[in-house]
Symmetry: C2
Subunit: 377 residues, 2 copies
């Protein structure tokens, strides 16, 4: 087998490893077999991933003598619905996988969240393996056990904390992503620098092209991201504190996704996060928490990497400040009327602010929307 | 406030108390307020319970100054569906209850299981209070954190382990149950004697009429049942071992419910458990594990209490042995082709048998069905 980078996630009895490197998909059978020798597997995937990569995965499982069945759902955010959740649960039960068997979430963030929640719920908890096939999923959603589906009132409002037993991140699989999808995932990579690792952000400023091109820089960037997330999750599994830092840029980002109707033609999650991170830094500067240069530097790097950084870059517009605020108030980071935002004192110096005045946010958004061209990066 | 019997459930950080006694509904406001002084409450109930008892509950909450909203679903097992789960989750999110607030499951076992699963899933876990209004729910489903809904393939196949923060069992509310509903819950009370407490079974043989009539014997029977369940759950929260004992009679019982289409006009859960417990004792006797007198004594007491004890008492019949076996194989207590049954060496001497041969069960069921009148109690 190859020698991937292995990042441990230390969660006591629920600890597991993330293996990161090229060619892991072809080794999935051996690696899963080492974890659960005679388990039967129920693979949950989407039609796009199945067309590109399912044959490689199943050949590897066959070679390892592992029985498997596949449940395929439609690609896209719309599958994070109650209806598809029901369909996947019923499908898993129909395969007659038992408590010792494994669910395999094989796809991007949507599949990981959906299949992970189904694995959490079927028989009140089945073991599962994450095989993330998007950059976003490899550095974010496949790590840390947050699973879930969307409510009509907002994203990820229904789900479970359910840790995988193993994560296999094949960095070569990312070559089949579109440039847009890769960049969207890159926003989450940059996030780890912005949260608490200024040297990593600096490294990305110098090496982002190598990360996109593939090879060791890509593996290193993904491993650094996973290590950062694993550390935070190990210290705060169920988000009673520090884990909220991972939401940097996400409150604004989720709101932008909501007002654009989760329409990926207009905005995908990572693009929302990119604009959201710039907004979070601009809002911090406006509150006098960091220098005016901080948001400019953040926006400059994300723009160079090909990501949107301004509200006026959302095709079709991003609604009114009122619509954005309504989406923010429906998000899950609300407590007793005060808003929780991740704000920052500078690059790599983010912190949790629990007492943000909603009217300050409204004022800020109104200003951004009114003079988007002028005030934006 | 009154002086109910309080049974602690010792689960570390997830510990909670079950309060048992008459008149607790009218004290719900004070007791919930003591637990969560400024929480907002989302009550989940069904139309029957709402008509009989909601005014008492909300008056008590109002007196304690607790804000509340109510989500009402249709009564009956059909509400333990993916569709109603989605409806309750969306309803809870629409009330804008936040993570520190409380979901109140106010009803029988269906409501407890459904609302409990929704509380587990919304925002990946909200606190909740169980106010069980049926005997079944007071002695079984409201205690121990098993929540869930039904799959088209079987009961309770989708859900979560999610412990309540408080259980309020008002024993007076049970006066509004039909005799049939009360008896169905009584099957679960008798179960605790059969599992591991022969003196309790003996006490029930002598005091069952007082339990049904109400007063101290009823409170005592419910408290003894809850103590028994709390002890088992504290030792094995997620059913990796001993907790399976609580399934005594349930593998057969669930199969009977499945083949009768979960039609409560034909069979309710407790009736299935009653017949199932007799079958489990008869099967144990057939395997030479206990005396022939044991199943006779079990059947005699349950029949005296007005419960069905034989397959041929199921209105419309209970299908073929093949249909029952198919339902058993879909149930969640299957492992590597061997069946797990709760069998017994005698009254109060049940144990987990992990290696029951399916063909022995089939043979036993064929015999029971062929000569139901002759071989039954």
């Amino acid at each position: 087998m190859s020698q991937p980078i292995v990042v441990p996630v230390a969660l006591g009895a629920r600890s597991y490893e993330i293996a990161i490197g090229p060619g892991l998909l072809a080794e999935a059978g051996q690696r899963i077999s080492a974890l659960a020798p005679k388990a039967r597997l129920a693979i949950v995937t989407d039609a796009n991933v199945a067309a590109l990569h399912l044959a490689t995965l199943t050949a590897s499982l066959d070679a390892a003598g592992l029985e498997h069945q596949t449940i395929t759902v439609a690609p896209g955010e719309a599958s994070k619905s109650f209806a598809t959740f029901a369909e996947v649960c019923e499908g898993l039960i129909a395969t007659r996988v038992e408590r010792g068997d494994l669910v395999v979430a094989f796809g991007g963030g949507v599949i990981g969240d959906l299949a992970g929640f189904a694995a959490a719920a079927v028989r009140r908890g089945m073991r599962f393996v994450q095989i993330p096939t998007s950059l976003l999923a490899q550095v974010d959603s496949s790590v840390g056990g947050k699973t879930g589906i969307n409510s009509r009132h907002g994203k990820n409002l229904v789900g479970a904390f359910h840790q995988p037993s193993l994560v296999l991140a094949d960095t070569q699989v990312l070559d089949t992503l579109s440039r847009r999808e890769f960049r969207a995932g890159y926003a989450e990579v940059a996030k780890y620098g912005l949260i608490n690792d200024a040297p990593f952000f600096h490294w990305l400023e110098n090496n982002w092209q190598d990360v996109m091109a593939g090879g060791p820089a890509r593996v290193e960037a993904i491993a650094t991201s996973c290590r950062s997330k694993a550390g935070i999750v190990a210290r705060d599994e169920t988000e009673t504190g520090e884990r909220a830092l991972l939401n940097l840029g996400h409150t604004f980002g989720h709101a932008l996704e909501a007002v654009t109707g989760y329409n990926s033609a207009r905005l995908v999650h990572g693009e929302g996060v990119s604009i959201g991170m710039v907004l979070a830094h601009e809002f911090s500067a406006r509150l006098g928490l960091c220098s005016q240069e901080t948001p400019s530097r953040v926006a400059a790097h994300l723009a160079t990497a090909g990501l949107p950084t301004r509200i006026d870059q959302v095709p079709g517009g991003a609604g009114t400040a009122g619509e954005l605020m309504n989406a923010i108030l429906q998000d899950k980071k609300v407590k007793r009327g005060k808003l929780t935002f991740i704000l920052t004192h500078g690059i790599g110096e983010s912190f949790i602010a629990n007492d943000v005045d909603p009217s300050a946010v409204t004022g800020f958004l109104e200003e951004k929307l009114a003079g988007a061209g002028k005030l934006g990066a």
